[in-house]
């Protein structure tokens, strides 16, 4: 079994989760057993699964597993199903219900989602002090209860199964980093025995060990090494373990062989003996990592996996697209440097007033959003540039676009480049590590321009936008080049990893 370990399945995917989902589907198509493993508590994650066509057998969550919760159980709890204290009067407040006793004292607050499902029930003690918070899982049961102290800090957290049985307790203390940190974990195992853990990380190691004993010849891939790497590395049972380097390996991107490691991977790089190797997405990064860590195996597995139905879809021509539509697809974060795209677009717009720019991606940093909006206003582009937010379904967006622009400071691989090319959208990208050179043949299916060379980027865009024949040639080349991101091509690289896993376990047998 292949286990891909991460935090959770969020409502809005980042590139890492998106890559995991594509990998999972590709392996399923090739009849390779694989599961997403999530270790974070999330009462809402189950409602995100259908968004991404995930079935219960595709995902195993630590809290579900340890607490004995089926991935799909019931329907959300409604207010009338709650056993609230009697004798209280309810007053609606937006999506909340506030309850008061006969003396007018505020006692209980019920939080609901837009569909009327109960999300939480808070109880208040003397002086309106919140003392308890019950968290309801969207699958229809109270999954957790938090106890607060006078400063509204969590002191304890209880976890339950759908029958209401207590399965785990987390005890918290004030950490050195000024945040509540786990002081101890008590777990009531299915055999009736009690287990003590000093941290959530130790608990996760125990959970991963349980998985490792449940199935055979397992591969564990750490997809968020900063969060789950320690737990995988400290599993007690023998397993084949790899960590996936999803970003650049160093902080100083001008020196890729430096020892100034990206903090997300530093622990793993410094403890390579705990791993069987690592995975990177591009040939260039594999070469750089192999050079830096010659004693360690570095596997290549592209995260840019384009499903066959996309590759086989009808091509969308110049006339079927929104004329002069340029898009950017990136979460609003400083490292994506979306201000560069706005400035490049300003140069294009000055030559082609009909041109428009849509920026798709969720807001990871409100400051970045404000700066972008201010810049758009400053450049008098309000009518031409839109921040469109996050979209689950990107295919129609790509099919309407004429160019994708990418100006990141760095990437592990720019997933959006492969996606855009697969939809016949030529890509104009700065020449950063890693990704553009993996996918773009400059002048054929897009353009790679020097970093920060806004004029060069604008020039190639203006030329192609004004020449439908040239644009059409770029687009057709984009479609053609996408075969390198096919499921088949990606599966070939995973076959290497699967073979290495098999060899690891064969060594044990011999």
């Amino acid at each position: 079994m292949l286990y891909f370990v991460n935090q959770t399945i969020p409502e809005r995917l980042t590139g890492i989760e998106s890559a995991q989902l594509k990998r999972l589907r590709m392996l399923a198509d090739h009849h390779v057993e694989a599961q997403l493993v999530t270790v974070a508590y999330s009462p809402l994650y189950a409602q995100n699964m259908p968004l991404y066509q995930l079935r219960p057998e595709n995902v195993v969550n630590m809290y579900d597993y340890l607490c004995g919760i089926d991935t799909q159980t019931g329907k959300p709890v409604k207010t009338e199903q709650l056993r609230l204290p009697a004798g209280l009067t309810a007053r609606p407040q937006g999506t909340e219900l506030h309850y008061y006793n006969e003396q007018g004292q505020f006692m209980v607050k019920v939080k609901l989602n837009a569909a009327g499902a109960v999300l939480s029930v808070n109880y208040y003690g003397k002086n309106k002090q919140a003392v308890r918070s019950e968290i309801y899982d969207i699958r229809g049961f109270k999954s957790s209860e938090i106890w607060y102290d006078r400063q509204l800090r969590s002191v304890q957290r209880f976890f339950f199964n759908p029958s209401g049985e207590l399965k785990m307790i987390f005890f918290y203390r004030m950490g050195q980093l000024s945040q509540q940190t786990v002081r101890a974990v008590q777990y009531y195992a299915p055999d009736g025995r009690w287990l003590h853990f000093a941290s959530e990380g130790e608990l996760a190691s125990y959970f991963l060990d349980q998985l490792n004993q449940r199935t055979e010849r397992n591969l564990f891939v750490s997809d968020r090494t900063a969060r789950v790497g320690w737990s995988i590395a400290h599993m007690r049972t023998r397993a084949f373990k790899l960590f996936h380097v999803h970003s650049t390996q160093v902080n100083t991107i001008t020196n890729l062989q430096s020892d100034d490691f990206n903090s997300n991977y530093r622990y793993a790089f410094k403890n390579l003996g705990q791993w069987n190797g690592m995975i990177a997405s591009t040939h260039a990064q594999v070469a750089d990592l192999q050079k830096k860590f010659p004693e360690t195996t570095v596997y290549r597995a592209s995260v840019s996996i384009i499903p066959d139905q996309i590759l086989q879809a009808l091509q969308v021509g110049y006339d079927q697209r929104t004329p002069f539509k340029i898009i950017a697809v990136a979460r609003l974060n400083p490292e994506k440097r979306l201000d560069q795209i706005v400035r490049i677009f300003a140069l294009i717009h000055a030559q082609i007033p009909q041109a428009t720019l849509d920026i798709w991606g969720f807001v990871a940093d409100q400051k970045v959003k404000k700066q972008l909006m201010d810049l758009v206003a400053e450049l008098n582009l309000t009518a031409a540039v839109q921040l469109k937010g996050y979209a689950v379904e990107m295919h129609p967006i790509y099919d309407q676009a004429q160019f994708l622009m990418v100006t990141s400071r760095y990437e592990g691989t720019a997933l959006v480049i492969a996606e855009a090319l697969a939809h016949g959208v030529p890509v104009i990208s700065y020449d950063f590590n890693y990704g553009p050179r993996e996918f773009i043949d400059s002048g054929k299916n897009g353009y790679i321009v020097p970093v920060d060379d806004q004029a060069a980027a604008a020039k190639v865009a203006i030329t192609a936008l004004n020449d439908p024949d040239q644009w059409q040639r770029l687009s057709q080349a984009a479609y053609r080049s996408s075969s390198r991101s096919s499921e088949e091509a990606s599966f070939a690289s995973w076959q290497t990893i699967i073979a290495a896993t098999e060899a690891f376990y064969r060594e044990d047998e011999n």
Binding site: R83, Y124, G125, Q129, R132, F171, L195, H196
Partner: protein
């Protein structure tokens, strides 16, 4: 029915409890049905009650809260904690220590009869996380939780099948929240909480006596015909609105017509019976 409000009963009863129990007999001789009401939490009270055949004369508030009723199983003994079998057990003073390597993760305590009374759980620094108290009738009765400063932050009182009946939150060592989960009642004041409980436990109260100062204020809302406060060890500074009679031990405590001289510690049984007869006849 007459009721005497007190805390707990045990082998180490104080003279207050001893005299209260003697009064039960006095009241019976006077033809009155009376019961002791225990408002304090104790895993041992039942043992005393059973040994002294007081089952019909004592009612426990916590038994009512925890739905104990007639539940009775053998008390837990050292091998009845299989949940701790993942850890090395070693003898320790007053019980057993459970170790992960050399670190203690839990410690159980037993009484002279080898019955488990409580189990403490500890963090990495061997600071207490939790105390589980076991009722000698054979069930986990109360869980107490402690913060890193070792202050009590919350308590859960369980019924014999393990369901939480009462959840109490503490702030600065004081209870600030009482949730009677299964009875669907929530309170922020201790007085209101106890008044609710007593309103359900006391059936047709006539004479109600507060044996200890901490229960005096509870009399106020009890609809008895005669409410009495004992002032044996204190000068009369009580709230006259809570009771009709304040029993005093010394002549000097006489301050008004509400005070009645009755020293249960020193007078003979016959004299006691006569005085109570007089009090009841005069005031009922």
């Amino acid at each position: 029915m007459d009721y005497f409000l007190n805390g707990v009963l045990s082998e180490s009863n104080t003279p207050i409890e001893v005299k209260m129990l003697q009064r039960l007999t006095t009241f019976q001789e006077l033809g009155r049905a009376a019961k002791v009401v225990l408002c304090g939490y104790s895993v041992n009270s039942y043992t005393f009650i059973q040994q002294h055949h007081l089952e019909k004369n004592v009612v426990s508030c916590y038994d009512w809260l925890q739905e104990v009723a007639e539940f009775k199983k053998p008390a837990l003994r050292r091998d009845d904690l299989p949940q701790l079998d993942n850890y090395q057990r070693e003898n320790a003073k007053g019980g057993y220590a459970y170790l992960a390597a050399n670190r203690m993760v839990a410690r159980s305590y037993v009484n002279k009869r080898g019955q488990i009374t409580h189990v403490n759980y500890y963090d990495e620094s061997e600071q207490r996380l939790e105390t589980d108290q076991y009722d000698l009738r054979g069930f986990l009765s109360r869980k107490q939780f402690f913060n890193v400063q070792q202050e009590l932050v919350g308590e859960q009182y369980l019924n014999p099948v393990g369901q939480v009946c009462l959840d109490v939150a503490y702030a600065q060592k004081q209870p600030v929240y009482f949730n009677l989960i299964r009875k669907q009642r929530v309170f922020t004041e201790q007085q209101a909480f106890w008044q609710y409980c007593l309103a359900h436990i006391l059936v047709d109260p006539e004479v109600v006596i507060s044996e200890r100062r901490e229960y005096d204020q509870l009399l106020k809302k009890i609809p008895g015909k005669l409410r009495i406060v004992r002032l044996y060890n204190a000068n009369f500074d009580g709230d006259e609105s809570i009771a009709q009679i304040f029993l005093i031990r010394k002549q000097a405590q006489f301050v008004n017509t509400h005070t009645v001289l009755l020293d249960e510690y020193t007078v003979s049984a016959a004299e006691l019976k006569q005085t109570w007869q007089q009090i009841l006849t005069t005031n009922l």
